[in-house]
């Protein structure tokens, strides 16, 4: 069952490369949140109630509901509909996703470490690579935040792959930190939208030598 969710997650990455509508990005992020919950839920052997509540809060509440809802609000306020500047054609983006998945597959096949769950590692590595690529090809700060969230989801999977048992307090603090970060980023997008009347990065080039 875990494998099904992992494959679904990889498919969302391909959809990200395919989409041109900003609204779809928000939906895909929300879907990724549900998939992450599925991955965690089905990979747990035994569930303690506090762990379960935390995972539920982290994946469903934050990654599926709060963050997508908030950035959707930001999207509406800035009237973003379609990404007009595909500096790289969609076709190439799909090839890049497939290649990043392949590289991740080869790397994790090569690892053979007893301390890493390679099934999560593959898709997390691909997600981080694709997130960085996503930021590079888009010229709109809203899409940059979407790319950042894809990286964050990849890191979430990576921490599963590593299986590090951080104390609950530390986990909560990390979650809160990232959430606050996204909220502040959103507020700044709104500010930039108001001040520059656009969220394209060409506007942000006053500071130079």
């Amino acid at each position: 069952m875990t494998y099904l969710f992992i494959i679904l997650y990889a498919i969302t990455l391909i959809y990200f490369a395919l989409s041109e509508r900003v609204k779809k990005f928000v939906w895909l992020l929300s879907i990724q949140g549900v998939i992450l919950f599925g991955i965690v839920f089905f990979s747990l052997n035994e569930i303690e109630i506090f762990d379960f509540i935390f995972i539920l809060a982290e994946t469903i509440l934050v990654k599926t509901i709060i963050v997508p809802w908030f950035i959707n609000k930001v999207r509406k306020r800035n009237n973003l509909k379609r990404i007009h500047e595909p500096s790289v054609p969609v076709f190439y983006s799909i090839i890049v996703v497939v290649i990043s998945l392949l590289i991740s597959f080869l790397v994790s096949n090569h690892l053979q470490s007893n301390y890493i769950h390679t099934k999560y590692f593959t898709v997390s590595f691909a997600s981080i690579l694709f997130g960085i690529y996503f930021i590079i090809i888009h010229k709109n700060i809203f899409s940059h935040v979407v790319g950042y969230l894809i990286i964050e989801n990849g890191i979430f999977l990576l921490s599963l792959a590593v299986g590090s048992e951080m104390p609950m307090m530390v986990n909560m603090a990390i979650l809160l930190d990232v959430l606050m970060g996204v909220l502040v980023l959103g507020v700044f997008i709104n500010r930039i939208g108001n001040t520059f009347e656009s969220t394209r990065i060409e506007q942000l080039s006053n500071l130079k030598d």
Binding site: I141, S164, G181
Partner: protein
């Protein structure tokens, strides 16, 4: 039966001192934001500074003791916290003057102080974090508060710089988190999963070199945005250029020290393994490129604050270089961090005063400062000598030690190359400062509107004086702190 219980209670109470400080700071900061009264803000800010000094004093008295589960008052943390304490006092004083000069909304002023308090708390938490995950959380938190402070003046440039700083730092810090997870992978083979620094240091011999290399590279890249060195230095330069001067003074010193400490913590783990040589080479490359970029940019600089920002890039490059060279270089690194913090903060406070007269930070607009404000001009001369590491500046001693380490280790080519770059930097820097002091401005200055306040320069006099004094006659506690901080590396 009652006595041991009471004892237990007392030890419990004492051991959560740092947690109490964090909670208190949060409450004070929130109350400032909610009450929004000028007098109240001043009283509460003074109260916070008192708490800050008390907690730093407490930390010094309890050196090497664990506190509040995830924190430890270790030597590098306490040393940098002392610097933070001194600069916090000066920053609050100059913030008060800065906000008085510019008429901001009451809400904005309250937001400024309350964010500054939270920033200081987050930095303190980063200095004392014993767990690498807690260190990461603290550093990420500083990003949020700094971006709010950069945006304080609400200009277009401020917005751009705040956005760039926030976004690039967030992505950078996310990369650093991947590095920390890699560290966790290699530590978990020895059964260590909690990322506590002392636990990690116990199992370094069993760590896999490839994971360690990747972990170091990623944390260095991620935290380079904070420390302001190559590769992600650009956002820090932009931030220091547009932030209010007291904030620029603060973030181009203490916050860079936070970034340094993030890299240093991972470096101490790496230093116990065979990867040390490789990591040092990486640091040397990062350091030399930073100094090179700084020298190139300073040649065509047009803005005073940007000039100071690029000078920070140079000094942090020297710090990375010192760490990369090792030996006596380790000692020089901490010495350099402390002296640079005092010297650079002093210069930024003074440039805030310069802005009063010329209403501009552009080099073409501001000149002939010595005639207008002799006390301020004198401070600039003193600052110039101090920051360029001209004797009797303490920075001369730290730079001398870094170069000595390079020659001892046989790194002649790097030493000569860096010396040439430093010559270029000294030329560009002094040319512009001398223009500010004695040159002729394009624009007429309305001098009558501004009354010089010589007392404003007291803080700078103390800071530059400290750099000279600590360089010539370092007190025993100061050298002990540095020696203990680097004991693990030797």
């Amino acid at each position: 039966m009652k006595v041991p219980e009471l004892n237990n209670y007392l030890t419990l109470k004492i051991s959560i001192m740092f947690l109490i400080f964090i909670i208190l700071s949060f409450i004070l900061s929130l109350s400032i934001y909610l009450v929004r009264n000028d007098l109240y803000t001043k009283i509460i800010s003074s109260l916070f500074l008192l708490f800050l000094i008390l907690i730093i004093g407490y930390a010094y008295l309890h050196l090497e003791e664990t506190n509040s589960w995830y924190f430890k008052f270790d030597n590098p943390g306490v040393l940098l916290a002392l610097v933070l304490g001194i600069l916090s006092l000066a920053t609050f004083y100059h913030s008060f003057l800065y906000l008085k000069r510019h008429k901001f909304l009451v809400k904005q002023e309250a937001g400024y102080y309350s964010t500054l308090i939270m920033l200081i708390t987050a930095m303190m938490s980063a200095y004392f974090a014993e767990n690498i995950a807690v260190l990461w959380i603290s550093i990420e938190t500083t990003t949020l508060f700094v971006s709010i402070l950069i945006f304080h003046e609400r200009t277009k440039e401020a917005l751009e710089a705040a956005w760039k700083y926030l976004f690039v730092s967030s992505v950078g810090v996310a990369l650093a988190f991947i590095g920390i997870l890699f560290l966790s992978i290699t530590a978990s083979s020895s059964g260590i999963t909690d990322l506590s620094l002392s636990h990690l240091l116990n199992v370094t011999q069993l760590m896999n070199p490839i994971w360690l290399k990747m972990a170091f590279l990623l944390t260095l890249t991620g935290f380079s945005a904070k420390m302001g060195i190559f590769p992600l230095y650009t956002v820090a330069v932009d931030a220091h250029t547009v932030a209010p001067p007291p904030i620029s003074a603060f973030i181009s010193t203490t916050l860079m020290n936070v970034g340094f400490l993030g890299i240093f913590r991972v470096f101490t783990v790496v230093a116990q393994t065979e990867v040390l040589q490789w990591a040092q080479n990486v640091l040397i490359i990062a350091g030399v490129i930073s100094i090179f970029m700084s020298a190139i940019q300073l040649l065509r600089i047009k803005h005073y604050k940007r000039m100071f920002a690029f000078s920070s890039l140079e000094h942090m490059g020297l710090v990375a270089l010192g760490l990369g060279i090792g030996g006596i270089g380790y000692y020089a690194v901490f010495l350099h961090l402390v002296f640079h913090s005092f010297a650079k903060a002093g210069l930024f406070y003074q440039i805030g005063q310069v802005h009063q007269y010329f209403k501009s930070y552009w080099i073409k607009d501001a000149a002939g400062y010595f005639n207008i404000n002799p006390t301020g001009g004198l401070m600039l001369i003193l600052g110039l000598i101090t920051i360029l590491a001209i004797p009797p500046s303490g920075l001369f001693i730290s730079e001398f030690l870094i170069f000595k380490a390079m020659f001892v280790q046989g790194q002649y080519y790097i030493a000569v190359f860096v010396l040439i770059l430093l010559t270029v930097i000294i030329y560009s820097f002094s040319k512009n400062i001398l223009h500010l002091l004695y040159g002729e401005a394009d624009k007429d200055v309305e001098q009558k509107l501004v009354k010089a306040n010589p007392y404003e320069t007291i803080s700078q006099f103390i800071l530059f004086g400290l750099v000279i004094y600590l360089g010539i006659n370092p007190p025993l506690f100061f050298t002990n702190l540095i020696n203990n901080a680097i004991a693990i590396l030797n």
